[in-house]
């Protein structure tokens, strides 16, 4: 028994921690509930640290779950994202939703639990359950900013949440339908069994439906419509989380189903993925240009980044998968950092328009420098992590003979720089508005979270070798 649960130690600890959090919530009075954020952060921080000491290799549930380097890489990513989100949400949640704080952190924890179970799943059922455990809390949290005060501010919150919920439900339906076709044609729920099945038209249809369903979740074009609306409407610290960790989980699911399950039938699905990739790259980058709302701009930029990551997925060998992991890690820290700065600058404003950033470098030089570094990392400029991530993807694409994607990607990266510089331009070159000349106020925990992101972005950019090696090793185990 104990050997059986060994690979799930971290998940078991997380579940236990969440139960304790639930109990604690019952006994803490409304005024003191902000401490729950710190407890959640401690929980995630502890789990992140524990992931370096606990041995989580082995097999659980008769082979339905396998631990090891691959799930561990994702777990660290998710715990890290959870930690940053909990740190940065404290002030925001305590101020805006004073009576609903406990639930926010419980939902966050449940979502991370779902994500954390996902990468180790060896069969379709566990994969799907974990995926839904992640997805449902997300829709609830997206709707958190429903009408809170009499003036009707944040009335978009419900719309954003509903959109995510409906799209999520529909995409789950499509995924389940696709997977049921797959099961019908292969007679197997295990990924290893899928690989052995002969090809047939219905199986191909099942594959395409699964791809479409999962593309909704990661926000790939043409299934991306919910992304900007939800980002715009949802609480910003939560968007930081929504834009990063669930995307990584989506890629874990895609990698499990397509690279391991349908790895042998690559010629059937790779053209479809390449089409989606190209569309995602082009639409994401071009649609970001006209956005004046920073959250929408970052939403489309996120779509573009999904496109870059899909290149690695389409190549699909162990090395490209390792590069995908590195990209996910780099994107997660960068994007969380960027959204946290946006949250700090936006303050109580529901709509964070670019002019709000005017003169930021004179109001808060440090924060502006952080923002600039995050933006440069998103744009893929040398010596920050985003550069290496893009570069490795381009290298892999070239190696796989997809030189045209390298060229397209490199040109679109220039387009990307254009819209990221719009924000940097406002922050550095424009003068501050007359009513906004004071430094931006940052609570210490957000400050800490931004600092952690900054260190990660600069550190992984200055010395990428250990991180890429770790990612490549994890991927090598996964596709062995």
């Amino acid at each position: 028994m104990s050997a059986d649960l060994q690979p799930l130690m971290l998940d078991a600890l997380l579940t236990g921690g969440l139960l304790l959090l639930l109990i604690a919530d019952l006994f803490i009075k409304d005024e003191g509930k902000a401490v729950l954020a710190d407890l959640t952060a401690l929980l995630f921080g502890g789990l992140f640290a524990a992931s370096f000491f606990l041995d989580t290799s082995g097999t659980a549930f008769s082979g339905a779950y396998v631990g090891g380097a691959w799930p561990l890489f994702f777990k660290r990513l998710f715990f890290g994202a959870g930690l940053l989100t909990a740190l940065a949400s404290r002030g925001f949640v305590a101020e805006r939703f004073p009576r609903r704080q406990g639930e926010f952190y419980l939902l966050l924890g449940a979502c991370v639990l779902g994500m954390s179970l996902l990468p180790g799943a060896q069969n379709l059922i566990l994969l799907l359950v974990a995926f839904e455990l992640m997805g449902l809390p997300l829709s609830l949290m997206a709707a958190y900013a429903k009408t809170e005060d009499a003036k009707g501010q944040d009335r978009d919150g419900a719309e954003g949440g509903l959109k995510l919920y409906v799209v999520g439900a529909a995409s789950t339906g499509i995924t389940v339908f696709g997977l049921s076709l797959v099961f019908g044609m292969t007679g197997s729920l295990e990924f290893t069994g899928l690989a052995a099945a002969p090809s047939s038209p219905l199986l191909t249809l099942g594959m395409f439906l699964t791809l479409a369903g999962m593309s909704f979740k990661i926000g790939a074009v043409p299934f991306h419509m919910w992304v900007p609306d939800t980002y715009q409407a949802a609480p910003t610290p939560f968007v930081a989380f929504l834009s990063s960790a669930p995307k990584a989980a989506g890629f874990a699911a895609l990698a499990a189903v397509f690279l391991r399950g349908f790895g042998g039938a690559a010629e059937a699905w790779v053209p479809a993925v390449l089409t989606v990739t190209t569309l995602t790259l082009v639409v994401g980058n071009l649609m970001a240009i006209p956005q004046s709302n920073v959250k929408r701009l970052l939403a489309f930029s996120g779509v573009a980044h999904i496109g870059y990551m899909l290149i690695a997925l389409a190549i699909g060998d162990a090395e490209a998968t390792g590069v995908l992991l590195f990209y996910l890690a780099g994107y997660t820290v960068t994007n969380i950092g960027a959204f946290l700065v946006v949250n700090a600058v936006g303050g109580r404003d529901a709509d964070v328009e670019i002019p709000l950033f005017n003169g930021l470098s004179r109001r808060s030089p440090g924060l502006a420098a952080c923002l600039l570094i995050f933006l440069l990392s998103l744009a893929g400029i040398p010596f920050v992590v985003g550069f290496w991530a893009k570069l490795y993807v381009f290298l892999e694409a070239w190696r796989a003979g997809l030189w045209w994607l390298t060229l397209l990607g490199a040109l679109l990266a220039v387009v990307g720089l254009w819209y990221y510089l719009q924000i940097a331009y406002a922050a550095y070159i424009r003068a501050p508005a007359d009513d906004r000349t004071q430094p931006v106020r940052l609570d210490p925990r957000t400050r800490l979270a931004v600092a952690v992101c900054l260190i990660a972005v600069v550190g992984m950019g200055a010395w990428p070798a250990p991180f890429i090696t770790n990612a490549l090793d994890a991927a090598a185990v996964f596709l062995k």
Binding site: A410, V414, L421
Partner: protein, 522 residues
């Protein structure tokens, strides 16, 4: 010491930038001193390299390798050949003069010096880096800070909206600093995208094991691949070298940039582009270079003429100098395209000479603009009466620009034209010489209009000559023009060492390949 000297040169501006970050933004004095010290250490390092470079032995010296990403064969390999020595000296001189010339800057000097020093660290890195990948990284570091440097500290020129696209011009704010900064960044980054693709092509064609440029230069690449990769590198790097028609960012950029940035950008950064074409394009892909040489040379000859004629019709002083840079960079590319010893020596020497000369020009233009608050040449006149020092140095730079014997510009242009003639490309040499004549026309005319004649009119009431540290920049650059004009061998010997090593392989390739049009038909 000597094995780490190149690391010191590259790291010292960068460390100075880090130290400046720790200084409070309102302490202008320490910031300036740190910026100056960081540049001077690099200059002293460059002089040390020049003194200790063993010309008899030649080749790469002071080599050092730091492993970076072994998995992809990326290492930080620093080493200097004769070309590097010359260009390190140039960068050190220009940066030292530039930090003196910006001593009067009062608008956010902290951020200014940080960006400027990071940019210079990138420039030094490009000149001594022997790993293709890190070369590209340094190149990007040298290009990107320009956006903020121009966007924040730039100035707006007087560009009258004209022509059928008048409305679009006004909407885009052509001539404004934001327009210039964005145009420069985007155009150069499209060039970078082309370089990236070319770099990958080279890396994978060589087996995907290493980015070591010395090993890559020894690899023989398939001819078809060379034929399509070389133009990518030529246009990619060439966009920074101001190759026609990708030069249009340069006049706007130089005109809008603040003084020290114009000095560095025209004086050093454009050289990175030409250096990249020669160091990466021509040496690693000799057959591609030989096949494309007629195109490269013809475009370069066009550059010389077009740049000179454009400079002649400008009325904004900074635009005059900026277009003259486009014209002079054409001379560099022309020398490179000759694939001849004299031509190549002349090309690298022109990088050096033009760097010093245009650095002096932009320093002077900065001084004039700061005092006159105008760059509009027709409104000036008689300035020599109140700023005789500035007038003297402007004339000196002008004489070097038009290739007056005894100035550094003469040596360079003479070598390039001789090389073009010797390699049988008289058709390039003649337009280039006409270009040099047009240069004489616009330089002398501009000098006359600004400094001689009646005036200065009462709108320029607070003109005065250079002051204190500003003299430093002028004297350093002015002395260099005369010194390297009268004793060119001080630098030319270094350049010749490297040229002598690289050229035989290229000459061999040139003998085996027809011009690109014929090759494609085949």
């Amino acid at each position: 010491m000597s094995e780490h000297i190149l690391s010191v040169i590259v790291a010292s501006p960068f460390l100075a930038a880090l130290l400046i970050m720790l200084v409070p933004g309102d302490r202008h004095g320490p910031i300036r001193v740190l910026g100056f010290v960081g540049s001077v250490i690099s200059l002293l390092g460059a002089i040390y390299v020049a003194l200790h470079y063993d010309q008899a032995r030649g080749g790469m010296q002071f080599g050092v390798v730091y492993p970076f990403i072994p998995r992809f064969g990326i290492d930080i390999r620093l080493a200097a050949d004769g070309w590097s020595v010359a260009l390190l000296l140039l960068t050190g001189i220009i940066m030292t003069a530039g930090s003196l010339a910006s001593a009067t800057l009062t608008n956010r000097p902290k951020e200014f010096y940080i960006l400027l020093l990071v940019l210079v660290a990138g420039v030094f890195g490009v000149f001594v880096c022997q790993d293709l990948f890190i070369f590209f990284l340094f190149y990007e570091i040298a290009v990107l800070p320009m956006y903020l440097l121009i966007g924040i500290w730039g100035s707006k020129g007087k560009v009258a909206a004209a022509g059928p696209f008048k409305a679009v011009w006004r909407d885009l704010d052509v001539g404004g600093k934001e327009y210039a900064a964005m145009k420069l960044t985007l155009m150069l980054l499209v060039g970078s995208a082309a370089i990236l693709v070319g770099m990958f092509a080279i890396y994978f064609a060589a087996g995907g094991k290493s980015f070591d440029m010395i090993a890559l230069a020894k690899t023989h690449f398939p001819r078809d691949m060379q034929l399509w990769v070389f133009p990518m590198l030529w246009l990619g790097f060439g966009s920074l070298a101001g190759v026609f028609p990708f030069h249009t960012w340069s006049p706007d950029g130089h005109a809008a940039a603040p003084t020290a940035v114009s000095m560095l950008h025209a004086g050093v950064l454009m050289k990175l582009g030409a250096f990249g074409v020669m160091r990466v394009g021509m040496i690693i892909l000799p057959e591609g270079a030989a096949a494309w040489a007629p195109v490269v040379g013809a475009v370069a000859a066009l550059n010389v003429i077009y740049g000179a004629v454009s400079a002649m019709s400008q009325k904004d002083l900074k635009y005059v100098i900026a277009y003259s840079s486009v014209s002079h960079m054409g001379v560099v590319m022309l020398g490179a395209a000759t694939l001849d010893t004299d031509g190549w020596n002349g090309a690298v020497y022109q990088m050096f000479a033009h760097g010093i000369m245009t650095g002096l020009f932009f320093a002077l233009v900065g001084l004039i603009y700061e005092r006159a608050h105008s760059r509009w040449v027709p409104s000036m006149g008689g300035f020599a009466k109140v700023m005789p020092g500035v007038a003297a140095f402007f004339t000196l730079a002008g004489l070097s620009s038009l290739g007056m014997p005894g100035s550094a510009g003469f040596v360079a242009e003479f070598l390039v034209f001789a090389g073009a003639w010797k390699s049988g490309n008289i058709l390039w040499a003649i337009p280039a010489m006409i270009g040099a004549w047009v240069t004489a026309v616009y330089v002398l005319r501009a000098t006359k209009m600004i400094f001689w004649g009646d005036g200065p009119s009462h709108e320029f009431h607070d003109l005065h000559d250079a002051k204190r540290v500003e003299w430093g920049a002028l004297w350093i650059l002015g002395t260099c023009i005369v010194l390297f004009g009268c004793a060119p061998r001080l630098v030319l010997d270094f350049i010749g060492t490297a040229t002598g090593e690289y050229l035989p392989a290229i000459a061999k390739a040139a003998a085996s390949i027809a011009p690109v049009a014929l090759e494609i038909v085949k």
